[in-house]
Every structure is written in C-alpha cells, then in structure tokens.
C-alpha cells in the first residue's frame, strides 16, 4: 500500500452470543467461554442437530422505529444487529455520523434478510404469496443492511452490501480500507451481519457439517460447525484524521487480499487459499515471519481445518506457523459476520496484547502437525504486532485482512 493513506481502526462494536457490546466480547474471548447451545430464536427442535449460537437482546421494533431519521422502516434481524453493532462502534470511536462529508457504510452478509425471506416463504406455505405484507416485502432486499446503518448514523457517503458469503465482512473491511487509502473517504463504517435461519441450518446439516454439541476446531475429535448469528462493526479512519482528533487507535489495517477457487461450490481449495494468504501479506508489505497470530476461519469441520492448515503451510513455506485459534469454538459460525468478528478479535489482540483461544480443545489433531499451537482453552498474554484474519466461503470466495500495531 505504498503511496496510499494509512488506515486505522478507532471504534468497534460486537453483537454476538456473548452479548451486546465490546466488553462482553472481550471478556468472552479472554475466558474462552462457550456460549453455544440449544437454539430457540428459530425453531429447529425438529432437527437431529439443535445446537448453535444466538444473540439475545435484539430488539427489532425499537431499532426499526429509530432508523431513517424517525421514519418507520421495518428491518430484518440481520439489519437490526448491524445497526446495533454500528451504534456501539460509533460511540466507541467518539465520532458521530456527521464526522465527515464522505463517511459511508460497507457491510457483508451471507444470507441477507433471512428472516424476511422465511416470512415470505411462510406466507406462501400458509395463505399464499398474495398475502405477503408490504413491510415484509420491503425488508427482503439484502442491501437493507448497509443502507440501514447509513440511515441510522446519518452517513452521506458510499453504501455497499457485499454478499460474498462467509468471507463477506473481510471484503467489506478491505474495500472500506481501500476507499480511505485512496482518499475517497476519511471514515468508513464497515462490518457484517447475519441472522440465524432455518434453511441454513438445514443445508449445513445436509452437508454433514453440523456438530452434535460443541464446535471444536483443530481437535482430533471435532465433528463440525455450529450455525450462529451476530454482527460486527469497525470504524475505519485515515491515520491523519484519527490522530488530528486524538482518537484511540486499536490497530492499523495494513492490507488485504482475495482469491477465488473457481473449482467447487462448497469444498475449499488449499492452493487457492494459500494464494490468498500470499496476496494479502504482499498487499500489507509484511512477510509470513512477521505474523504473530492467525485468527483462523476455523469452522471445525474435519475437512476445512485440514485444508486451512495445509494452505497456511503452503504460503508460509519454511516459516513456522504462528499461534492460531478459532473464535467459532465459542460463538459458533456467524456467517457473514464471522470475519468481521475475527477482525474485532484481531484488533483487541493487538491493542491488549493477548491471543484469543480455541475453546473446548482437548487433543490437537495430529494430522494438522505437531507444531500447531491452537491456543487451547483460555486466552494467553503475548507480544502481538501483526495478525492475519482469515475468511473463507462457499463459492471459493477467500478474503484475508492483515492488521498491525499502529506505529506513530
């Protein structure tokens, strides 16, 4: 990113199964708390697998009434969580929506307004599509996520919603960073959101990807992922804008990279992921040896963990793999929010000098290599300068963001 403006993170918000806010997210990560369990937010009691992650305290009506300058607008659950996370992040940054004339919102999602789509389908099943309400119809488009954030915060700039599945937040973070680095914007509100949904739970079950009780990435006895929900938001700001106002800086976004497998709709490809890692590190102008921690995509399925570790070994060559962990072990797979929450975890890791753990890990899978350090059970103090945040997705959509300690 030579000759480009520096981009820093000055505010963060997290809406997760840990709770609402950065404090609960930080405390959960440090303690290695597992907060997945039987899901009630959507009825999945009739499935062979019933565990997952869910966020309590999502208030759709309250936030819908408050958005769009007071005008009534019904929002889907993912958009509400995005708005909640964005409000938290904005408050954390000390900015407000009128901070600059170019501030915009870029968010990612996997399933968009899944609850609105399920309501549409329920209307179809029970009384016919002609009974669909206008409020539900208006809340179906996935673009509502970023536009709801922009409306709620009064942002006048660019609004984009990416739907690159489970790497979508990293696309949003990277693109928002590019807009600041190139001088198009001084502040961007970026992140991702997804709501728990029944059809996704069914699909992942059918693929054989769901764990029976807990998600245990890198464990020899891991048996899959847990579907979950949540939202992440980061306030990206140009370094000069942040320092001019004396803002607290969590970390610097020093680069990102993407690749597409172009091979299979659901199965990941190690060589393509390795190329994504190499591209991201090159974009950030750092070497593999500089990386102190990897926040893994770490779904906990037997295949994905093996592929991810193999890809890292390909990209890192003779360099040792740094400590690596999966926050999905604690909160489940939050889909489009996953790499956004990974980004929040990375920035906390740098700002507070600790390594988030892989909870519930008992025996590291020997097939992953004797040298793998998945930070079992609890967080660990460490010197953290540069971190790599992995995000991979259906369709072979890989995106990786790189964060670093912010030098003066």
């Amino acid at each position: 990113m030579t000759d480009r403006r520096r981009v820093v993170v000055t505010g963060m918000g997290a809406v997760t199964p840990f709770g609402l806010g950065l404090q609960s997210f930080r405390d959960g990560l440090r303690a290695g708390s597992v907060v997945t369990g039987p899901v009630t937010v959507v009825d999945v009691a009739d499935f062979p697998r019933v565990n997952g992650g869910q966020v309590d305290g999502v208030d759709v009506d309250r936030h819908a009434d408050a958005t769009n300058g007071g005008g009534h607008r019904v929002l889907g659950r993912a958009a509400v969580m995005a708005v909640q996370a964005a409000r938290l992040a904005m408050r954390d940054s000390g900015l407000d929506g009128t901070c600059t004339d170019t501030a915009g919102a870029v968010f990612g999602t996997t399933n968009g307004m899944s609850d609105a789509i399920e309501s549409l389908a329920a209307a179809w099943v029970h009384e016919g599509l002609s009974t669909l309400s206008a409020d539900i119809a208006k809340s179906v488009p996935a673009g509502c996520i970023a536009s709801a954030v922009a409306a709620d915060l009064g942002l006048p700039g660019e609004v984009q919603t990416f739907a690159t599945a489970c790497s979508a937040s990293n696309y949003a973070v990277g693109y928002g960073g590019d807009l600041i680095a190139s001088g198009e914007a001084d502040v961007m509100v970026v992140g991702g959101a997804d709501a728990f949904n029944r059809w996704g739970h069914a699909g992942f079950y059918r693929l054989g990807a769901l764990a029976e009780s807990t998600c245990r990435p890198f464990d020899a006895d891991r048996d899959g992922m847990l579907t979950s929900e949540g939202a992440a938001c980061l306030i990206l700001e140009s370094h000069e804008h942040a320092t001019a106002r004396g803002a607290r800086i969590y970390a610097e976004l020093i680069g990102y990279g993407t690749s597409c497998d172009a091979a299979h709709p659901t199965a990941p490809d190690a060589a393509s992921i390795a190329r994504c890692i190499t591209t991201a590190l090159a974009n950030a102008e750092v070497d593999a040896a500089d990386v102190d921690y990897i926040c893994a995509h770490g779904t906990g399925t037997p295949t994905n963990d093996v592929t991810e570790v193999a890809a890292i070994r390909m990209a890192y060559g003779d360099n040792a793999i740094p400590p690596i962990s999966s926050i999905k072990s604690m909160i489940g797979h939050t889909m489009g929010a996953a790499s956004g929450l990974g980004a929040v975890a990375c920035c906390l890791s740098i700002h507070e000098q600790f390594l988030p753990p892989t909870a519930g890990l008992e025996t590291v899978d020997p097939a992953l290599g004797d040298d793998l350090d998945p930070i079992p059970a609890m967080a660990r103090p460490a010197r953290v300068r540069v971190v790599q945040n992995n995000g991979f997705a259906f369709g072979g959509n890989n995106a990786i963001t790189i964060f670093a300690e912010c030098a003066a």
Binding site: E118, L120, A121, G128, A150, Q160, A163, S259, P265, T266
Partner: protein, 343 residues
Amino acid sequence: MTVPITISAAAAVTGAARQPSDPAQITGLGDDVDLPPIPVHCIASDHPDMLRPPKGTRYLDKTSKLALAVARKLTDGRDDLGDPTRTGVVVATSGSLRSSAEFYRETVVHDEPHLVSAKQFPTTVLNCAASQVAIHRGFTGTNATIMGENNASTAALRFALTAIASGHIDRAVVIGVDEMSAQRAWMRYRAGCYGTRAGLGEGAAAVLVERGNETVHDATPVLASIMRTHHTADGTVDHASLRDAVSRAIKRAGIDSDRISHLFTTCSLRDDLAEIELAALDGLFNLDRVRVCRLSPESGDIASANGLLQLAAAHAVRDLEYGVITSLESDGTAAAAVIGGAR
C-alpha cells in the same frame, strides 16, 4: 481516478426481442402460486443465449444461469484476458429469492425437515452466480457479489474500479443480473417497487472493465464514479443524493457539465423513482439539449442489471462526447458514473 480504466466489451441477455414472453416460463409458479397483477417478463428456455448451457448446471437457479450466459457472450473467443488470477468477477444481483424461499419451504412441509437437497443448498447463498461464473470461465481473481436492486450495477462498477485502481486485479467481468420468479414478483409488487406499464423482468448485462490500455480500440473510458446517500426525516426518497452524486462525479472527472452529451437513466421503469431521477437531472442539465437515454420497457424492469444495461448501451453510442449513468434506490442511495466517448 488516477489509474485510467476503460470498458472494452459489453454484452446483454434480455428478452426484448421475444415479446410477449410466455408467463408459463416464469420460475416458481405452481398450483399454489400465481402472479401479481402487473406485467411480468421472462427469458424463455429456448432463448438463443440460453441454449447449450455448461454441463452440470441444470440444477442451478435462473440467476446463475443468466450470469453464465452473459459471461459466455462477453468472453467467448477472447484470448487476450491474460492471467486469470488478475481477472475478477463482480456480480450485481438480488440473488435467487425463489431458491431461498423454496429451500425454506422444504424444511416446513415435510416431516423430516433436514432431508433437503444438499446440491440445491449453494443456490440459496447470494454469491452462487459469481462463483459459478468463476468456475466455468476460470477467473480466480477477486470474486464479489454486490446487493442493491436498482443501484447494484453502479455499485458493482464502483467496486471493480476501486479493485483495479488499488492493484488487486487488472480487469473485471462485471455482471448485473436478476431473475424473475413468482416469489420475486410478489415481493417487488407488495413493496411498491415496480412500474405499472413496464412491469418486472429478468435478464443480465455485462461489461469488461480493464486497466486502461491505449492499444484497445473502441474502449470507453470510465472517468469517475461516485455513490452518495441522503436521508430524509420521514424516510422517503428525494432527488438530493442523486444530484449530489452526479455533481461530484462530473467534478471528479474534470470536465465541464456542458460537455455531457448523453444521460443514461435507470429509474424510468419504476413509478416510485422515475420522476425523482428526472428532477435531479433537470436541476443540473438542460434536458432539451442533452440526450436522455431511457431503458427499454420491453423487457420489464431488471433492477440489478439496469445500470450495466445502460453502460452497455453507452459503449455502443458512436457520437457520445461524455455521458453520465445514473441510479437511485428507494432507500435514498444514489450513484453516478461519468464515461467518455469510445476511442
């Protein structure tokens, strides 16, 4: 934009030449599903561009099939696309509402809700079309899917321009695509997002966006692209964001607004946005002097493809000095792109 970027090719798959379309060909219809009382258009299965699809794609949703068709039309026979890792795919779409709704339906109408089709599951994920284009055309660079209805095309163009200017890729296949299904027709109808006369349609448009190359003939330079948002107290949309976007884009392009010869609008097929779009432009241009190019109503409103249909049309205009492509959505977001005449 400091990096010169051009449109070097364009293609479209629409049903305009095959009117009227047969409603029975619309996906998602069944004994328990009818259509709303507005015109609805579709691309028939025997449409020339839809024949001979790639092997193994019969199970795909219509959105993905249309995206594959327009990508093939755009890139077949091109042996000058260079390193596939430096070629991205950017798809603007609403996704397949039918796929998601049907998949959910399968979980509630059967006694064993988990016995859904594993093969169909990826079609419920919004990036299915973009990944299928990558798989079948072999492009392994950045692969993005952009949501946004009428703004999606111009937003996707913005993303592609930024990805190229930032050095992530050298070129991008940018596609705008939407399918028409009974589910989507009812959603748009109930939301009030339609035009009484043109109704709703399906189709796809695509352009090849590249880092500027002086050796490419008939390339259309993209000079600037801006997205803006304006929020009103009562949540209604007005013309402020579009007027702002157009003004800033022209300023960014570094040209005098008097040199704009063509305006390519995208809202003319929607009752709720057409007048607002024109009002925004009326305050900036002498509409008696500038040629205003509207979308053809024959294919219906293909929301996510509208901006790229217009960009493809602009690429073919021979007497264009400078043109502006505009878009606006009912959430108050707007976009404008300034292009030059083809060299």
